[in-house]
């Protein structure tokens, strides 16, 4: 019992830090991207009144982002920041999975896997129809 308590504590500490630094890293990247974007496009006109739906799957999107990053495009750097922001909670779940596994709490290993599966479904449902 004593052993388990200590491990829960460690988990809280690591997850707390993960969330904090994840958010700050993501937002710093997005801010840099924002500055680059503004410097290059400040006088352009915006066109956000009408929504243009486009189905791009996430793998394609990551590939496009990498291409844009090579050219140092502002929007690509912002998108990298946003992707890092999405990764923060995902990493948190992956870390919980490992922690529950080490605590031998197999019920929660199963629950965590189920949540991961649902998020994977959202990647699958999000494109191609």
């Amino acid at each position: 019992m004593e052993q388990k308590k200590i491990q829960d504590r460690d988990m809280q500490y690591i997850i707390g830090n993960l969330l904090r630094y994840g958010v700050w890293t993501a937002l710093s990247v997005a801010a840099v991207g924002g500055i680059v974007y503004l410097l290059r496009h400040e006088t352009e006109r915006i066109h956000y009144q009408t929504f243009i739906e486009h189905d791009v799957n996430i793998f394609q999107l990551v590939a496009n982002t990498v291409k844009g990053l090579v050219k140092a495009e502002g929007k690509a750097i912002i998108l990298l920041g946003i992707l890092l922001l999405f990764l923060t909670p995902i990493l948190r779940i992956c870390f919980s999975l490992i922690a529950f596994f080490f605590e031998k709490d197999y019920l929660y290993v199963g629950i965590t896997l189920l949540v991961i599966a649902i998020i994977c479904c959202s990647i699958f449902f999000g494109f191609g129809h």
Binding site: G33, R45, Q49, D55, N57, I118, S122
Partner: protein, 277 residues
Amino acid sequence: MTVLTFTLIMFLGALCAGFVGSLSGLGGGVVIIPLLTVLLHVDIHYAIGAALVSVIATSSGSAAAYVKEGITNMRLGMFLEIATTAGAVGGALLSAIAPAPFIAILFGFALIFSAINSLRKKEEHHVEVSSDLALKLKLPSTYPTPSGLMAYGTKNVLGGFSMMALAGVLSGLLGIGSGAFKVIAMDNIMKIPFKVSTTTSNFMMGVTATASCVIYLQKGYIEPGICMPVVIGVLLGAMTGAKILVKVNPKKLRIFFAVVIIGLAFNMIYNGIVDNI
């Protein structure tokens, strides 16, 4: 409007939204959507995308502190995330086919509900005996209080789970954290102490929002040019709000902001009905 003007207006608007969201306890995401759609005539899909990205930032940022203090019940959060993520995926898929005026009207009603709920007097629940299912799922836990660790029980697991699924659908459909609905599920239905339910709700928002955001991203809701000023502005505004919240008595402020927010909500509903969204 040029990119520079739009970005500056957005940034200032997001700062205010984060500030008001944090003081009123409703979250910055719900305030930014009316601002974007009603005032700046941005399409509601882009507004939802930007708002939900900012929800991930603010909720993860504030969850970090509570997790470290051991107030957040991580097992409870993890278990209920099954319901919220499944709901969020459904909600995000619905938002792609739902017409914009419908989303605006539903958003208005959710906003009015949350604002009124934020004014309701909170009664502290404390149950000692837990239901069998709660025990099996190891949901009862302890949280730190000034007089040492306090143990609490949990009830109505299935009821809370269903309410969480609804919270997830609303989050994915409307681009909000739907904290008010999450807290109702834990506080009113599962009888979990208020401090634990608010912090655990915050903890769950990041994962729930990410589940819908992945869909939003692939459908093109997430426009970097809008997200950047919104996310940074909302987070800075929320941090400022949190600092002020410690110093002032929030009761009067809450009533004031709730009235402002209900006004915004009626505006959204009106614009949805006359098809101006």
